[in-house]
């Protein structure tokens, strides 16, 4: 214990090291604050959207005549869906800054409405957000490298390495203390602001603990790598060069390379093709015998088969059958598109089995509910709600019943669900393994340096 205290004092007395830890804590706090600010702005925007929507709906409800035409009401009325930020979204904003977090749908073909995009400023979105995930994945390794690249060479250059090696005690215990101490301090600097932010945002303890645990493992990974780099390098500069090259490779080059490969291997052109196909399916119905469209609709909605046959001229029945039949016609393509998006996510997770940076990003964004999975879950909820809305109107449209203010008031309301969830255990295990292996490697290499002859001596 005394040894630990002594090492702590020694580390904190070094001004650059103490300054680095303070700056890291400040950056972490700043990122937490910035993430919370961004999520608060989204929450306020959602409130504004809800107000705008409620006002529009109230105005429509007031105009709804007692003998209203359900077809007409269904055609014009928008229905609001939204996905509020999960409590931990502030830590890893992920897709929430590029994807819409609210979407209005009408009872028309869903596939033409589902992929509407938000009006983002691409210039601000492109560099990525300054959130905790960024500080953890990109900045923390740089700080760890700054703190540890001269772990041994610093002593060697100061002429103390021989002395330290000849001290009594288990070989490597000194370096283990020093590495673990730095690990603990870096983790502390990073995690204290995060925990405060999680507390203020009302995050659940389990999710918070998992985020903190993942961050701790990632820090441990880099501390291990840094200890290894410091042990195998003769000089501080060589250590820094080696470690920075490792950082550039692991955090910048390999993930971008994998992304380029995924982009190529799993094309998602199905999205645009789906849009083209859906429009074609809906609109060609205008040029076909109407009964054909009705039969296609009845195949998936047999409960309306026995309603009155189509009259001469336009009827809303046929119109909504046409839109639904359009969606049904592209159901397979929509599933393919979804599958392609999902397999991109899967391959990203597979990459995370090998790359700690990707791994921790996946974990954080899953726990924060801001990844592709959360996005798809939201789209599923929109689809389910859209079906509720359609089915609310069908009895009036197909049964030719009037749609009055009371029926309008009973329109289904969207129920949001948090997009956050627990990450796959394999990923967490993989990160633990990567961190454990790196730490073991680092501690072993430093221990070996102590035992071996001093190259400068």
């Amino acid at each position: 214990m005394k040894n630990w205290k002594f090492e702590l004092l020694l580390l904190l007395r070094s001004r650059p090291a103490a300054a680095a830890l303070v700056v890291l804590a400040l950056l972490s706090a700043l990122s937490v604050w910035n993430g919370m600010r961004a999520m608060a702005a989204q929450r306020i925007a959602l409130e504004r959207i809800a107000a705008v929507h409620a006002a529009d709906l109230a105005e429509r409800a007031a105009r709804q005549p007692a003998d209203g035409d359900a077809g007409l009401t269904a055609y014009y009325t928008p229905h609001l869906t939204f996905t509020p930020a999960p409590p931990l979204a502030f830590a890893a904003i992920g897709q929430r800054d590029v994807q819409p977090y609210a979407l209005q749908v009408r009872a028309l073909g869903l596939q033409a409405q589902l992929y509407e995009s938000e009006a983002i400023n691409p210039e601000l979105a492109a560099p990525g957000r300054f959130d905790f995930a960024f500080v953890l994945v990109y900045l923390a390794p740089l700080f760890i490298i700054a703190l540890m690249h001269d772990l041994l060479s610093g002593e060697r250059e100061a002429g103390r390495l021989r002395l330290l090696s000849s001290l009594p005690g288990k070989p490597g215990a000194l370096w283990r203390r020093r590495v673990l101490l730095r690990l603990a301090l870096v983790a502390l600097a990073l995690l204290l602001p995060l925990l405060a932010g999680a507390r203020l945002s009302g995050a659940a303890p389990v999710e918070t603990a998992l985020v903190a645990g993942a961050a701790l493992l990632y820090v441990a990974f880099w501390c291990g790598v840094a200890a290894w780099g410091a042990a195998v390098s003769r000089s501080a500069a060589a250590g820094a060069a080696l470690l920075l090259a490792t950082f550039v490779l692991l955090a910048l080059v390999l993930p971008t390379g994998v992304n380029a490969a995924l982009d190529r291997a799993i094309p998602v052109v199905q999205g645009a093709e789906l849009a083209l196909a859906q429009r074609q399916a809906v609109h060609t119905a205008w040029d076909k015998p109407r009964e054909e469209t009705m039969q296609r609709f009845f195949r998936t909605h047999p409960e309306w088969k026995d309603t009155a046959p189509l009259p001469e001229g336009f009827h809303w029945k046929w119109y909504y059958a046409m839109h639904q039949a359009g969606d049904d016609a592209v159901a397979e393509q929509a599933a393919l598109y979804r599958g392609a998006l999902w397999s991109r996510e899967q391959w990203t997770r597979n990459t995370g089995l090998l790359l700690a940076g990707v791994n921790v990003q996946v974990l954080l964004h899953r726990l924060a509910g801001t990844d592709m999975e959360a996005r798809m879950a939201y789209l599923d909820r929109v689809a389910a709600y859209h079906e509720l809305v359609r089915r609310h109107f069908y009895p009036y449209v197909f049964g030719e019943r009037p749609f009055g203010p009371a029926d309008f008031a009973r329109l289904p309301v969207f129920a949001p669900a948090p997009g956050a969830g627990l990450p796959p255990a394999t990923l967490l295990c993989a990160l633990a393994l990567l961190a454990g292996a790196a730490l073991l490697l680092g501690l072993r290499s430093t221990a070996r340096v102590t035992m071996g002859p001093d190259p400068m001596g």
């Binding site: 950056l27 700043l30 910035n34 600010r37 961004a38 925007a45 504004r48 959207i49 529009d56 897709q95 590029v98 819409p100 033409a112 509407e116 995009s117 938000e118 009006a119 400023n121 691409p122 210039e123 601000l124 979105a125 492109a126 560099p127 990525g128 957000r129 300054f130 960024f134 900045l139 740089l142 001269d150 500069a237 820094a240 920075l244 955090a251 910048l252 080059v253 993930p255 971008t256 992304n259 982009d263 190529r264 094309p267 998602v268 999205g271 645009a272 093709e273 849009a275 083209l276 429009r279 609109h283 205008w286 991109r344 996510e345 990203t348 990707v358 990003q361 996946v362 990844d371 592709m372």
Partner: protein
């Protein structure tokens, strides 16, 4: 500079190169960067090509769908609408810019203005947020780190080893020494950029229109990298120990190339709030409701419109008009809504520009922001390029829809309007979407010149600093 000094500086530069060539770390790092640049060029060229092929195919598919419509009522065609896909420009491979964050698919229909959909960012896992392996990324972020590595010891290590004192004692002036080191590392910076710039030159030979943007890009990147090498050499000259120089320079890299380019956009977003799409659409609809409702026969605006049409044609009933009044009403309604769409769009572009101007101001202090802006502008993948696509798409939408409404007014009779169809030849003859070329001159004025001015300012500051550093070198070694 006197010839003797030039000759000495040249000798210093040659000696520095020899030392770098002997350093296995330097050679390996430079080799790694070279390999990365080549990989980035190949990967990006291939990717840009595949995107281009894909969009051309989709556009062809959309055009075929458009042409294969049977004879229809023109208003059906208005609702059928048309798709346009943003084509990729030839230099996009060099810098994807903001393109992955913008939708490339635009659905054009009557009465509505749709968002551009299916952006890469919306369809990628969070891997995309690690950045993209383009030549621009290599030169903007990775090359400065390498330059710093090659240069941090340039003078600091010689000072540590006492060689600096020795050289000055032998009559090498501080100026010549610094000039030599600056020249050595400056040339190195240009050499590191050379493969990427050569790829640019190669692309530019295929199309004379690309020569100017490629030239500006080369100039901008060269200036940016020169700045880094000059800064690195001078920090090395000022630092007491090589280690200090390295830590300081890597810290500066983390700040200027990693941290600030991320933080400042967030600051800009916080300073200029923007409404969401739903709110913007609601605002347009509220304005529209104030003007008039074309579906309401008693609406004052459209009653006036009817009266003026009747007067113009000298008849008293819409049934007596030589044209189809329904077509005219829809045409007028589209004119009104489109005006509002356009105004709403311009308002939002102005807000985005206000956010952009925060970054432009910050670029004075963070050269990477200046480079990023000019690079994406010259590659035609910046926000302005996307806005140009949206505006051209909207303009095309308006002309297409109004041409169809004109057909509705002139080729469909008022009586039993809905039951009629007209020949598909009418809309097959309408023009296709033409993507407008980049307004190069304006872009150069707005994006390139300010960036180059910023680099020039920094380089002048570096030169002034060099004069002082050179004197200081002689005073205290």
């Amino acid at each position: 500079m006197r010839p003797a000094i030039t000759a000495t500086a040249w000798r210093v530069a040659l000696e520095e190169w020899r030392a770098l060539r002997r350093s296995s770390v330097a050679v390996a790092a430079a080799g790694l960067l070279l390999a990365l640049t080549l990989a980035a060029i190949v990967v990006s060229l291939e990717r840009a090509h595949s995107v281009e092929v894909q969009r051309a195919r989709l556009q062809q598919q959309a055009d075929d769908q458009w042409n294969s419509q049977p004879d229809r009522h023109p208003h059906r065609v208005v609702h059928y609408g048309h798709y346009v896909f943003r084509p990729l420009t030839a230099l996009a491979f060099f810098d994807f810019g903001v393109a992955p964050f913008t939708g490339s698919t635009l659905y054009l229909e009557g009465h509505r203005q749709n968002s551009a959909n299916f952006s890469d960012a919306g369809q990628s896992s969070l891997l995309l947020r690690f950045g993209q392996l383009t030549p621009a990324f290599v030169l903007q972020v990775l090359a400065p780190l390498l330059l710093v590595f090659l240069a941090f010891g340039a003078l600091a290590r010689e000072r540590e080893r006492g060689q600096l004192r020795l050289m000055l004692a032998h009559g090498v002036s501080g100026g010549a020494l610094l000039a030599g080191k600056l020249a050595a590392h400056g040339l190195l910076a240009v050499l590191l950029a050379a493969p990427a710039l050569a790829a640019l030159a190669l692309i530019a030979t295929a199309d004379p229109l690309l020569v100017a943007p490629a030239g500006w890009l080369a100039l901008g990147y060269a200036a940016y990298l020169l700045l880094w090498s000059a800064a690195a050499v001078q920090v090395s000259a000022l630092a007491r120990r090589a280690r200090d120089a390295l830590l300081l320079l890597v810290g500066a890299w983390a700040l200027m190339a990693v941290l600030l380019p991320r933080v400042l956009p967030d600051v800009a977003a916080g300073m200029v709030p923007r409404p969401t799409r739903i709110e913007m659409e609601a605002a347009v609809h509220a304005e529209l409701a104030r003007i008039g409702d074309s579906h309401n026969p008693d609406d004052p605006y459209f009653r006036n419109f009817r009266d003026s049409v009747l007067k113009r044609f000298g008849v008293s009933k819409v049934e007596d008009l030589p044209v189809n009044y329904k077509g005219l009403v829809i045409e007028e309604g589209e004119r009104l809504t489109s005006e509002l769409f356009l105004a709403g769009m311009q308002r939002d572009f102005a807000r985005q520009a206000a956010q952009g101007s925060v970054l432009e101001t910050a670029a004075l202090a963070v050269p990477l922001l200046a480079l990023r802006s000019m690079s994406a502008a010259m590659a035609d993948t910046d926000r302005a390029a996307h806005e140009r696509f949206l505006l051209a798409g909207e303009d095309y939408r308006y002309r297409l829809i109004q041409a169809l409404n004109r057909l509705h007014a002139e080729k469909v009779t008022y009586h039993d309007d809905r039951a009629q169809r007209i020949s598909a030849d009418y809309w097959r003859a309408l023009p296709r979407y033409q993507h407008p070329p980049s307004p190069l001159e304006r872009t150069v004025t707005q994006r390139v010149r300010p960036a180059l001015a910023i680099f020039a300012g920094w380089l002048v500051a570096a030169a002034l600093l060099a004069a002082w550093v050179a004197r200081r070198l002689e005073r205290n070694t």
